[in-house]
Symmetry: C2
Subunit: 145 residues, 2 copies
């Protein structure tokens, strides 16, 4: 089951360590999490884990297509289990709120880019930016980023 991990590692001569298992578990438990939050979560669960190791594990897990990451605004990237990656993030520059939407939203754009340029859009990799209804209403919006 979770030994998609074990198998994929062994195939490549890599090792299954407690840290890697914990990082993957944390990503799956949190759904949306930064490297920092992942480390913290593992520690709350009684594990020990260096931030450096989290970065290396996430890199590895992304290579194995078990996790994916998204850039939302300026901060650190957020990691998702590969199974829950399929949505577009839309972020308000005013209040910082992030909404998840169906990838459907960008289907037309994806098609156009593919047909015209052969470009394969990764609709989930970066969050769309703008101003939500509330922040549009609130006069000259002091945008954050």
């Amino acid at each position: 089951m979770s030994d998609a991990l074990a198998d994929q590692l062994h195939e490549r001569g890599l090792r299954l360590t407690a840290q890697r298992r914990r990082v993957l578990e944390a990503v799956r438990a949190l759904r949306h999490a930064t490297p920092d939050q992942i480390a913290e979560r593992v520690r709350e669960d009684g594990g020990s884990l260096n931030l450096t190791t989290v970065y290396r594990a996430l890199d590895l897990l992304e290579g194995l297509a078990l996790v994916r990451h998204t850039h939302i605004g300026h901060g650190p990237p957020t990691y998702h289990p590969a199974e829950h990656y399929d949505h577009v993030h839309v972020r308000c520059n005013g209040c910082g709120d992030v909404e998840s939407m169906s990838t459907e939203l960008l289907a037309g754009v994806a098609r156009e880019l593919m047909e015209r340029d052969g470009f394969r859009l990764d609709a989930n990799h970066v969050a769309l930016a703008g101003l939500c209804a509330k922040c549009v209403a609130a006069a000259p919006p002091a945008e954050k980023e």
Copy 2:
């Protein structure tokens, strides 16, 4: 003319300094530039300018709607004169190439977000990500970010 700057500053009780004028000139000359490049440019032109001041001036100029910035990939943001802000950036995660396209590309998405959620899309603020034709062709693409 360029004293949209002077006027706007005075209205708010702020001061027109050589540094602020130089930063705005550099942004206009370069069209696409990071804070670092802006500082360098000013120094090449014989001015002196601290990086800290560039950050503060850009913040200010953005507040005055004279410049705007875009996030392209992981690196520092790029600043544009407000007059040349109107295009979408599309970035390949494989080779890092960035293409500028008409904002038209996202017009449909912008309309949908506005109608459905009252969300005002800022189509230019972040670059769309994906893989260009070349990088799609090149086998298992080792994506960079």
